[in-house]
C-alpha cells in the first residue's frame, strides 16, 4: 500500500528513511521519483545526498549542520507541495544477453516453476521491457521490473546464496531481474550473461564518462538475445572500446 503520509524513520544519526509505502509497484516508484526530485530541488541545508528506491528515499545528512527533527520538518514542508509525477524522462537501453549455457544454469528451474519451456522463458524475458526501480547493492546493479509481460516470470531466490556470480550475470529473483556488475555472491537464479559492462570503474567507454554506472532509476532495459558468435564479437568491441550502446531518449508514463 501507499501510506496517507510518508513515514520518517531514523536510520541512525546521519541517515533518514522517508518511506511512502510498502509495495514494489510503478505507482510507488513514481511517487519516490517525485519526492526525490523535490528533495533535491529544495536544497535543504545539511543534506548530503539522496537515494531513491522502490518505495522510499534514503537521505544522508550532516547532523552537525541540521538536527534530525529540523530536517524532518523541512521535508514535511517539501512533501506537501509535490505535484503528481505522471511522466518521467526514461532512456530505453538495449543490453545483449547470451541466455542458457554455462552461465544460465537456472533457466531449467525457472521454466519448471513457471510451467513453461526454457525457450518460452527466454522469449518472454527478452521480449518484455524492464523498468529500473532501484540501483544498488553492488555498484550499478539494477533492480528490474517486468512491464506488461505476457506472463509474469517469477521464481524463488536461492535458499543459500552462491559464493560466486560472474560479472554480467542476468538473473531472476522473485519477479525482479538483476544484473551483476562485479563478481559477487548472489541469490538470484542465473539466466545468462551480458557481454557489455553496466559498471566500468576505469570509465573507459564513452558512455561512462560522467559516471562509472550505466543505469539509473527510471531507465528501461530491453534484453536482446545474442548467440555465441555475436557475444564474442560484442565482447571484442567492448575490449577495443568501440562498442556503442543502443539508447533511446524517451519519456515514460505508466
Amino acid at each position: 500500500m501507499i501510506y496517507e503520509t510518508p513515514r520518517y524513520l531514523y536510520s541512525g544519526d546521519q541517515y533518514l528513511t522517508v518511506e511512502i509505502g510498502d509495495e514494489m509497484t510503478l505507482r510507488a516508484n513514481f511517487r519516490v521519483i517525485g519526492l526525490d526530485r523535490a528533495l533535491n530541488e529544495a536544497g535543504i541545508k545539511g543534506v548530503i545526498e539522496t537515494f531513491p528506491g522502490w518505495r522510499s528515499v534514503l537521505l544522508s545528512y550532516d547532523s552537525l549542520v541540521i538536527h534530525a527533527e529540523d530536517l524532518i520538518s523541512e521535508i514535511k514542508g517539501v512533501v506537501e507541495q509535490i505535484p503528481e509525477v505522471k511522466e518521467v524522462p526514461s532512456r530505453l537501453i538495449e543490453l545483449p544477453v547470451k541466455y542458457k549455457g554455462r552461465w544460465g544454469p537456472d533457466l531449467e528451474f525457472i521454466a519448471q516453476q513457471n510451467n513453461i519451456s526454457v525457450d518460452e522463458v527466454v522469449r518472454i524475458h527478452s521480449e518484455t521491457i524492464h523498468w529500473v526501480g532501484m540501483v544498488g547493492f553492488t555498484p550499478g546493479s539494477p533492480q528490474l521490473m517486468q512491464l506488461n509481460p505476457p506472463l509474469l516470470l517469477s521464481v524463488r531466490k536461492y535458499i543459500s546464496p552462491r559464493i560466486y556470480t560472474p560479472q554480467g550475470t542476468v538473473a531472476l529473483g522473485g519477479s525482479i531481474t538483476a544484473i551483476y556488475p562485479v563478481v559477487s555472491p548472489g541469490g538470484y537464479q542465473m539466466m545468462g550473461l551480458t557481454p557489455v559492462p553496466i559498471y566500468d570503474r576505469f570509465q573507459s567507454l564513452d558512455i561512462f564518462e560522467a559516471s562509472p554506472v550505466l543505469l539509473r532509476i527510471g531507465d528501461r532495459v530491453k534484453f536482446v538475445r545474442v548467440d555465441d558468435e555475436e557475444f564474442d564479437y560484442i565482447r571484442q568491441q567492448v575490449w577495443e572500446c568501440s562498442y556503442r550502446y543502443k539508447i533511446k531518449e524517451e519519456t515514460f508514463s505508466p
Binding site: 524513520l9 531514523y10 536510520s11 541512525g12 544519526d13 546521519q14 541517515y15 528513511t17 518511506e19 510498502d22 509495495e23 514494489m24 509497484t25 548530503i48 545526498e49 539522496t50 537515494f51 531513491p52 528506491g53 522502490w54 518505495r55 522510499s56 528515499v57 534514503l58 544522508s60 547532523s63 552537525l64 538536527h67 534530525a68 532501484m134 540501483v135 544498488g136 547493492f137 553492488t138 555498484p139 550499478g140 546493479s141 533492480q143 524463488r156 531466490k157 522473485g174 556488475p181 562485479v182 559477487s184 559498471y199 570503474r201 559516471s211 562509472p212 554506472v213 539509473r216 532509476i217
Partner: protein, 329 residues
Amino acid sequence: MGKATLEVIQPGIFTTIQDLGRRGYFASGIPPSGAMDRFALRMGNLLVKNPLEEAGIEMTAMGIEVRVLEDTVIALTGACFDANLNGNPVRHWQTLEVHKGDMLSLAKPTTGWRGYLCVAGGIEVPHVLGSKSTYTLGGLGGVRGRVLKKGDVLEVGPPRAPLGSLGCRKVKEAVVPKAGAQKELRVVLGPQDDHVKEESIEVFLNSPYRVSINSNRVGYRFEGPQLFFKEREKSQDAGADPSNIVDDGNAIGAIQIPGGTEPICLGPDGVTMGGYVKLACLITADMDRMAQLRLRDYVRFQNVTVDEARSILEQSVRSVKEENILSHS
C-alpha cells in the same frame, strides 16, 4: 606530483588508502568507503598538520613494513601495533621523524584492530569520484582500487607545515580512546524495529554478542541469541520470511537481522540496499569503536536517542583540535 616516500616491503593483511570517503554515488550503488575509525584518521592528520580529511594508510589485523625513501614525519593512530623503527620500539598517537633508508615495521596490534599511518603531506593517489578512498569491491580509489601489495611505492604530497615543526607532537592522554571502550556499541533503533517483537528488542539490547570472524569493512557479523519477528501479512513484494521487507536503502551502520540470527552491521563499504529488517543503526561515532573490535570479542548494544548520538559525534569531531595536542620542541 608527489614524492615517492614509502616502499611497501610487507603489505599486511588488508591495508588500504582511506580518506573520509566519497559522496554523491550512493544512488548508483557505491557506498562512501573511507576510514572506518574516522577519529583516528583525523587525529593522525592533525598530528602531521594535514587537512583532517587527508588520506592515510588503514591497516587491519596486521601492520605493514615499509622502507622510507624520503625524510618525513609520520603519525600512528588507532590500534597500537607491536611496532619498531630500525628495531627500536615506536609510540603511537604522536609524531615520528623518519629518514631515508629507515625501516618501519608494524606487526600485530596489541590493542584494537585497525591502525592508521598518516604522513605529512598525505598519501598522493588520484581522486576517483571525488575521493582517494579505496573501495575494493568496486575497484575504486587508493592504489588501483585494491589493497596494498609488496613493492608498491607510495607518493606523498607537499607537507602543509615545515617538517621541523612537526617533531614531538603528541595527542593528550585524556583524548586517546581507552582500550576496551569499544565493548559497548551505541545504536539508534529503527528503521524497522517495529517488525521485531518487543521481547526480542530487549534481548538484543541486553545480551552479549560475539564478533564473528566473518567481519570486515563491508559488514560486521555478531553471534548471539535468536530474535523473533511480529506476525505480518503475507507479502508478495517483501518475500516469504518475516525478516524480509520490500527492499530499501541501507544506511552505513544499519544492523540487518536476516532470519533473526547473526545481526550484520554494515561498514563503510557496505551494500547500499537490501531486503532484510534493519532493527537498529550504529551511531556514526561508534563506527570508530566497531573498527577496533577484535574478532571473537564480546560486545553489547546500547540504545541511545538520535540527539544523544549527535552530541556524541559532535564531541568526537570537536575533540580533534590543536588544544588536544601537546608539543614540545
